[in-house]
């Protein structure tokens, strides 16, 4: 990998041991994040995108989760081999995270200024006063109006959008932010607020030198903010490319189906029937080794049921994992 790579994930497998059996939540996943880029991990519920994120900062509940194999190299160190203490040091200093539900992500009994200042106090040597000043500075950076006053508010006094800003500020409170993992950061927010938060994230990425791993199910959010996209389905990566490659030339049947299911797709301006993907997401428990999308795919044949396909490189940086790449290509003009 070249020098501008911040994080490389190789062949990661994550299993959950449940009463009914083993759930292979993430299978053979490899991906990389470059410095300064926003990588979107997109897919529907159960596709393993959140598990992937939690693998990076080691927040997978174990048990029942087990990281079976693979490596996650972040700034030349394998995160999966680091002791808990080191990981904790990395979290908050170099890898930070914001969650979907800003309502529950902040401690209800502490003022937001206190919570922010505490992150500074943990990682840097400074007085309480300095930490508070820093906290206010950050609140200003995430465009919270009258930050000095807001620092003395409790979380429940803020709106959802404001809370998410505070969460972003928490993530930025480190001395050397490297990677911010944003797990569905706008899903719980209203659309006008979502637009503001997405704007803020894009803005900040330029101001603060960091990469963002954006986890989302919303193709619109991806189109607005991502540089590169990894599409996941049932624990597998099925397509990867730049945001333009993915939206201009979606090539995996699943990506294609996903984009075609969107009512906002321009082809439905005439009110025509939506081209929905038939069927349901497969049960991860009983899923075999074949292509997980095979049972919903109109191109699928026996080969698809049997084995998971290898990589097909379509363009520089644009790859799909599909047995039927040729056939799909001939029909996938959007």
């Amino acid at each position: 990998m070249s020098d501008d790579t911040l994080l490389t994930m190789e062949n990661v497998n994550v299993h959950f041991h449940t009463r009914r059996g083993v759930v292979k939540a993430v299978r053979d996943l490899s991906l990389h994040i470059k410095k300064g880029e926003t990588l979107a991990l997109v897919g529907e519920s159960g596709c393993g995108k959140s598990v992937t994120a939690h693998t990076i900062n080691q927040l997978i509940p174990m048990p029942p989760g087990v990281i079976e194999s693979g490596s996650v190299i972040f700034r030349d160190r394998d995160l999966l081999k680091l002791p808990e203490k080191e990981i904790r040091k990395l979290r908050g200093t170099q890898i930070s995270m914001i969650f979907q539900e800003p309502m529950t992500s902040l401690n209800p009994v502490f003022k937001i200024g206190e919570q922010l200042a505490d992150v500074f106090l943990t990682h840097q040597k400074m007085t309480k006063k300095e930490a508070h000043a820093k906290a206010v500075e950050l609140l200003d950076l995430v465009k919270i109006p009258s930050p000095e006053k807001r620092a003395h508010d409790y979380p429940h006094q803020l709106s959802g959008g404001m809370r998410q800003r505070v969460m972003i500020a928490m993530a930025l409170a480190s001395p050397e932010p490297g990677l911010m993992i944003a797990d569905e950061p706008t899903t719980a927010l209203d659309v006008t607020i979502q637009a503001q938060i997405l704007d803020l994230l894009t803005d900040l990425k330029d101001k603060v030198d960091m990469s963002i791993l954006l986890i989302t199910h919303d193709m619109g959010v991806v189109a607005e903010t991502a540089d590169r996209v990894v599409v996941m389905y049932a624990g597998r990566k099925v397509e990867e490319g730049t945001v333009y490659q993915i939206f201009d030339n979606p090539s995996h049947p699943y990506t294609l189906g996903l984009l075609n299911s969107l009512p906002s797709n321009e082809k439905y301006a005439d009110h025509s029937r939506l081209e929905a993907i038939p069927g349901n997401v497969p049960d991860l428990l009983t899923l075999g080794d074949g292509c997980p999308f095979a049972n919903r795919c109109s191109w699928a044949d026996e080969a698809c049921e049997k084995s998971f396909p290898g990589i097909t490189e379509l363009d520089e940086g644009h790859s799909i994992w599909c047995h039927k790449s040729e056939e799909v290509k001939n029909r996938s003009v959007r």
Binding site: E101, L106, N107, V109, F110, V119, Y154, M170, A173
Partner: protein, 327 residues
């Protein structure tokens, strides 16, 4: 909130006693008393008046803390309560301090070491704790520590050989003054007499507090905001004690308040065993003697305390929970 509840309590007590079978006058004078005598006493007590009038009379007296006179001793009920209640409160407080401090500590340790032997042992212990009759535990403790090991006195508040004149009836306060004057034996004796009853009374609350703390702590540790501080790299110990504990304590405080109230009521069961001259033992004897004014007064005092404790809990609750404070 407070006054309507108290009013309700007082009313309920009145009607339950008033409607109970048996004639207090007859109880007081004995089975063989003449009819005239009983009628006269009934008139003296106001029992011949209509119920609603009795109730009005009763209310006006209660407001002035006049609970009437004890049938058995002839003394003013309020004076008897004043002489005895401090003993009960002193014991309950000691038991509660013992239970809260140890209970919260055990609960936190168990929660942070979930599924280790420490956790299992303390939780099995706690389960036994909540399953025991308190008076039985008291008896067993006396049997082991007083009778067999001879470590603690079997009852009473002070070595009877020490001549002691209480002022406030809170022995620890009274004797502390003597301690400062250089007479430590009084204080030590009072303390010595308090230990066994406190442990006996405190064990059940201890178990309940430990269980509540543990489950509340586990719940809080699962919350997103704990994930947030963890993902901000803050040390686990700080996560637990600074961030999580304060949230986890909220239900615990409610339980502590509730248990404190229960202890005051539970005094009825334990004070006789430890020959503790408190209000519980006194009410117990009053019930046996069907001494209604005393029973009435005692119950009102205990339930009022219970209501006040709950009020204090609410206040404390709002101090640590900004959501309630500001709304």
């Amino acid at each position: 909130m407070l006054f309507p509840t108290l009013f309700g309590v007082v009313t309920l007590v009145f009607f339950m006693i008033a409607l109970s079978p048996g004639d207090p006058a007859r109880v007081m004078l004995g089975e063989r008393a003449s009819k005239e005598k009983i009628e006269k006493l009934r008139a003296d007590l106001g029992l011949d008046k209509p119920l609603i009038q009795q109730y009005g009379l009763y209310l006006t007296r209660i407001v002035r803390l006049d609970f009437g006179e004890s049938i058995k001793s002839g003394q003013k009920v309020w004076d008897e309560i004043k002489a005895r209640y401090p003993a009960t409160i002193e014991l309950a407080l000691c038991a509660m301090i013992f239970a809260s401090v140890l209970g919260v500590w055990i609960g936190v340790i168990s929660a942070t070491r979930k599924n280790t032997w420490i956790d299992y042992t303390s939780m099995v212990g706690a389960l036994f704790g909540v399953s025991m009759p308190v008076f039985w535990l008291a008896l067993v403790l006396i049997m082991i520590f007083s009778v067999n090991l001879n470590l603690f006195p079997t009852g009473g508040r002070m070595n009877l050989r020490l001549f002691f004149q209480p002022e406030t009836n809170f022995y620890l306060i009274d004797t502390f003054k003597l301690l400062l004057k250089g007479e430590p034996e009084y204080f030590l004796s009072a303390l010595h007499h308090l230990i066994l009853p406190s442990v006996a009374l405190g064990t059940i609350p201890l178990a309940i507090i430990a269980r509540t703390t543990r489950s509340s702590m586990l719940e809080v540790l699962k919350q997103d905001y704990v994930k947030t501080v963890r993902s901000a790299g803050i040390k686990e110990q700080r996560v637990v004690f600074r961030y999580a504990l304060r949230n986890a304590l909220m239900p615990v405080i409610t339980v502590i308040g509730l248990q404190f109230g229960m202890l005051l009521a539970g005094a009825l069961l334990t004070e006789t065993i430890f020959a503790w001259p408190g209000i519980g033992k006194w009410i117990y004897q009053a019930i046996e003697a069907r001494d209604y004014p005393a029973v009435q007064g005692g119950i009102i005092v205990i339930s009022t305390s219970f209501v006040l404790i709950n009020l204090a809990v609410d206040v404390l609750y709002s101090v640590i929970n900004p959501k309630i404070r500001l709304q």
